[in-house]
Subunit: 247 residues, 2 copies
DNA sequence: CGCACCATTGATATGGATCAATAACTGTGG
DNA sequence: CCACAGTTATTGATCCATATCAATGGTGCG
């Protein structure tokens, strides 16, 4: 059985609250994989019957078309999983690729082991349902945003989401950092890198300092105009009067 | 316990292969709901802790923004479910609305019952994982398509998908019918109704007859140019030499 | 130090949204 | 069975936002 520090996986949504025996069973049949920066971990259209839990590093999942364009699906940090949904799809090959964007270590768990663990541990099943349902939820929001919002709004919304996430993890109240390259973020938001850059330039004129990858807000409410009912729940301010989102 | 014909639910992916006792438990705690055409079944931003299985009729799920725009997420037929993913999300209110687009009957199952049934029946858990993972898969494809394809290609791809689905259900080999209004389909594809109409006009010049909601292909390969590796598996022709998709 | 890569800024072209008008349906009631 | 209203679909004309192209500036790494 693999021997790793418990805290490298135990905060993950995947493992949360599941039986000790399930953890043992999974660790017994999983391997730890190491990848250099920019290594392709999963190749689109190939079989890859494994779920990965990121222990350290960063990963992007994406699709590429025959004409060479790529669409980033998700940008991932430690404790997050990928191929979590794919191993339950009807397809026999993966619809996405995954690539490390930093030196990365993952816990690689065979599909079969997950299936078996699920049938014995309904908490694990529930965790996976929640994980995948939330992915689907974000994906729906993304489709909606692309249809109905302009690039500036999408960028603003993205920054606000990251800011709230940062606050939730106990970060400082007015500054935070983009965790990925701007071109990757732009791609994920469905805009050209140039457009992303221009959107950031507009935000600067609205009291948001941007130096490289560091964002500094002039006030903790600087981004409030980009809020929406979905984010409102994650915001401490939502009860305050000056929050415009109410329903 | 509700008394309905078994075939009105037993072909659904939800119920497939699950224990008799689970079926009984679910039917015991579910209700049958009837809706006129254009009834709002679920309202965005409100609580709705139920999963619906469509027994007859048609339903659309969608999001609407404050400015009144709506984005269709899915268009649904009998045997399909909605609110299937929502009941596993972290949100306490629904991120989507659901509305009947025809007179509709659904089996309405409380969230709590589903949760309990899952913990006893791992096949049901597996079914739900598959259902939601596939939704997520389509949603990823949609995001990708919006980024990388022109409206004509998206329309062509849509028609091809529907055609293959039609064939799989044993339909005639060269004609089939759009199951929804053109404006709804256009919305789901993320194009204006006018653009959808113009795309269909282009397709006419490529040997695809379109009369109202009926599509007639001049040859069963008329739509092959819109194929991609994801659809290839569902296509009987994929093994034939004249199929260009080979990945 | 120099070479890649990444980001910004400027100039241009274009595809599809939007606006507007008409035409084809669908269903309803006389 | 037809007339009418309401909805849905088509077709045409216009305009603007953003992708694309192009050039420069910045940054990190070997």
């Amino acid at each position: 059985m693999i021997n790793i520090r418990q805290n490298s996986y135990s905060n993950s949504q995947l493992m949360r609250g599941i039986q000790e025996s399930s953890v043992a069973y999974i660790l017994n049949h999983a391997t730890i994989e190491q990848f250099d920066k920019n290594t392709i971990i999963v190749q689109q259209s190939e079989k890859h019957p494994f779920l990965h839990l990121i222990l350290s590093g960063k990963v992007k999942t994406y699709r590429h078309s025959t004409e060479g364009k790529e669409t980033i699906i998700r940008l991932l940090k430690p404790q997050e999983t990928f191929m979590d949904a794919v191993i339950f799809m009807n397809t026999d090959t993966s619809p996405i690729s995954a690539q490390s964007i930093e030196p990365t270590k993952t816990l690689k768990i065979p599909q079969k082991i997950i299936h078996e663990a699920i049938s014995k541990d309904s908490i694990l099943a529930h965790n996976l349902l929640q994980i995948i349902a939330n992915h689907y939820g974000s994906s729906m929001l993304q489709v909606d945003a692309i249809h109905t919002q302009k690039p500036l709004d999408r960028v603003g919304f993205y920054l606000l989401s990251k800011y709230l996430e940062h606050i939730k993890l106990g970060g400082s109240s007015k500054s935070f950092s983009l965790q990925y390259t701007k071109q990757d973020i732009a791609n994920q938001l469905g805009v050209a890198p140039e457009t992303f850059s221009r959107s950031l330039a507009k935000l600067k004129q609205m009291g948001i300092e941007i130096q490289g990858t560091e964002i500094k807000l002039s006030s903790s409410e600087s981004l409030c105009q980009f809020c929406d009912p979905t984010l409102t729940k994650k915001c401490i301010k939502s009860s305050k009067d000056d929050c415009k989102i109410k329903e």
